[in-house]
Symmetry: none
Subunit: 428 residues, 2 copies
């Protein structure tokens, strides 16, 4: 049997967090680590370095929850207030902690520095607290109990915080008898927007098991679907839900975890002993860049061409002047010749070409901003499609590049290219 | 005379923020924009998608402050709860807002989609609220007053939030009679690390005027330096500080505001009537992609080549087999021939070539991971350098691509290429 999960809250402190000069990535780090124990922080407060506000807030937080994790304010400077404020809230004096002083001594010695007053201040901690060792930096973490709430104080430097999270998790497991291990499955999809995805699942969700939490995270270009269960016994239920999602989303599922389209394409090509090339106009090198971000991409990607100007489409990809004159750069005939030209120039087995109007300028009544032709295939068969994605320039480039990778993925998988986005965005 | 500044609080909502799946960058964006009005949020709360917790928190927030900016929860999905909860707190019904419905209709029509139930839900807003137009996405923002607190609801998608912040600032100025205009000057630099930059300024800061706040924000690849004064009367002082920074940082300053290296290169080339090309190995298309992200890049960028494999370096860039065999792909001789090959293939006036070991694999004792050769120039003069940047793969690609743009910028400006990073990272 398991105790009820403790109510966990986070308090982040620092003027730099309030001014917007620093983006808080520590909260996400803490949350991901706590998730392993099935703990999700219920509430997170962020405050500047104001002792009065900190005192009031900490008092309130300690009466509301079982665990308060404070991050920041442990440094040597005068705006590092955590120990002082916490001593006030706990109604204990500040006292030089022998273990903390020892740590600071050793830390200074390793650096050949003398212990100065600023460092020595870091050993002044609320009387009766326990130390959370910091193997990385000078600031020692500490914890104490205030109004039945376990208060854990951690440094704001991400590397120092990270090094402290394992002992903190152990302490929480012990204190609250936590045996839960949350099981998270993330699926990466492409080609289904968040609202369409939600609608798909809603239409089918009447008997969705309450044990399996479902959530979506819309990124550009991929949409992540997350299935979470709290206990191992529910893994079979999660598996059923996964199968339902696989039926609903089919070949729009790119893979598990952090799987990216480019990695899927590279692995498929490698497995099939095929190489891939790119001929890019409006995406300007982004497809190539997405591929080459993946370690090992050199196995399957000999290279590609960014043919922004018509002259380069002609010189490097052998697109004929007639085609460019009669059909224009954004046309089926042009992308067909681009992909064939790239295959010839690089000797690759499979290629993708894109040419479109990324905007904000350059659109016409005939080919408005957001129009893009894609062609993909090998020296025998080239398929084409024209899509309309009237998005802001960089987002357009991102979505089109991803579509370019997706049609390659579909081609390598031998599945029909009739995906949602091809059906919805196709304009001819 | 000016009214006292309103007390501003932020509420961020979303399970993905609590679970650690998403790092919250919106708070920093909001804070930086509010800073222009001299406003610093006093308190920030982050909560998951729990209607009961949201209701309690919003009630409390509305009684504590003058302004509550809520971010997130406006999407089409069932866990988007902001409108519903806010209606409960304000004790008004939800009603289909005609202006919101019109926006959603138009949004769907532009995409050739039918308005579905999930989208339609986004028009259900607290009765009596005013719309905050969203020029980018489907979710409309809205605002209403609860317990004398102005509540502003904004979407969680960063691009949509950003597009809404100017109207929000205007509304705050009007409502609270804010005439303060904090004057922020941001300078973009490349090639100086944050700690070096700080040291540079510290060494020179003894008589720095206290009226001019100085801060740094390290991004990859650029470092931003921010100078802020609170009143117009201090602009001359800020100007003096800017001149001091210009002396200290010299040609490492890329420009003002959001100025990117790629935009600087494009404008310089356009002004000089020159065209630019790229021959990329380890950056895999990223330099081309950085250039083509900038609207109007087609004026100066005819195209480039991603030559990942030696065969493509030979076939498309005419790098000789002898060079590749004798010196290897990561060598001065290869990048020299790459840049010359790209100039010939595209007819561009100026080019840059890179070839290096991005890792994690592929390093050797001779050329460890992080080694990269750059070459840049025209058909007459090509300069080269070998750098060592032992960074994680994607960060390495980012920094090297930026260095490729920076040497072009320096060449176009006619300044010597002896920048910090060339001096510090040069290995031969």
């Amino acid at each position: 049997m398991t105790n009820p999960a403790p109510m966990v809250q986070l308090l982040l402190t620092g003027d730099e967090l309030m001014s917007g000069d620093t983006v808080d990535s520590n909260s996400a780090l803490i949350a991901r680590e706590l998730a392993v124990l099935g703990l999700v922080p219920a509430r997170r407060i962020t405050l500047g370095d104001d002792p009065q506000a900190l005192r009031t807030e900490i008092q309130d937080l300690c009466t509301r929850g079982d665990v308060l994790l404070i991050n920041g304010g442990l440094g040597p400077t005068i705006d590092d207030l955590t120990a002082e404020v916490l001593a006030q809230v706990a109604e204990v004096p500040l006292a030089e902690h022998p273990e903390a002083l020892e740590h600071l001594d050793a830390w200074c010695e390793r650096r050949g520095l003398a212990l100065n007053d600023a460092n020595r201040k870091q050993a002044l901690l609320p009387e009766g607290c326990e130390i959370l060792p910091n193997p990385v930096g000078s600031a020692v973490g500490f914890c104490l109990t205030v109004s039945d709430c376990l208060v854990l104080c951690t440094p704001g430097v991400p590397g120092e915080l990270r090094a402290m999270l394992n002992p903190i998790k152990e302490r929480l497991q012990e204190r609250f008898g936590i045996r839960v291990q949350r099981h998270v499955l993330r699926l990466q999809t492409f080609g289904v927007g968040e609202s369409t995805a939600q609608q798909l699942v809603l239409d089918d969700k009447s008997d969705w098991p309450s044990e399996v939490a479902l959530s979506f995270r819309a990124g550009a270009p991929q949409l992540e679907i997350k299935l979470t269960v709290d206990v191992e016994a529910h893994l079979p239920l999660r598996h059923q839900c996964r199968q339902r999602l696989e039926t609903l989303f089919g070949d729009h599922i790119v893979g598990e975890g952090d799987r990216k389209l480019a990695a899927a394409v590279i692995d498929l090509a490698r497995d099939q002993g095929k190489t891939i090339t790119t001929a890019e106009s409006c995406t300007g090198g982004l497809i190539a860049q997405m591929l080459t971000q993946i370690p090992g991409s050199s196995d399957v990607f000999p290279g590609g061409i960014v043919s922004y100007a018509n002259e380069v489409k002609a010189s490097l990809l052998s697109v004929s002047d007639t085609t460019l004159t009669e059909h224009g750069a954004v046309s089926e005939a042009t992308v067909r010749e681009m992909v064939q030209g790239a295959l010839k120039a690089t000797g690759a087995d499979l290629g993708v070409a894109v040419s479109g109007v990324a905007g904000p300028g350059g659109g016409s009544a005939d080919k408005p901003v957001g129009t893009v032709w894609l062609a993909w295939g090998d020296s025998d068969t080239v398929e084409t499609v024209c899509l309309h994605w009237p998005l802001e320039r960089v987002l357009f480039q991102t979505m089109v590049a991803a579509a370019g990778l997706d049609v390659l993925r579909r081609r390598l998988l031998g599945i029909p290219e009739q995906s949602f986005y091809l059906r919805q965005r196709r304009i001819s």
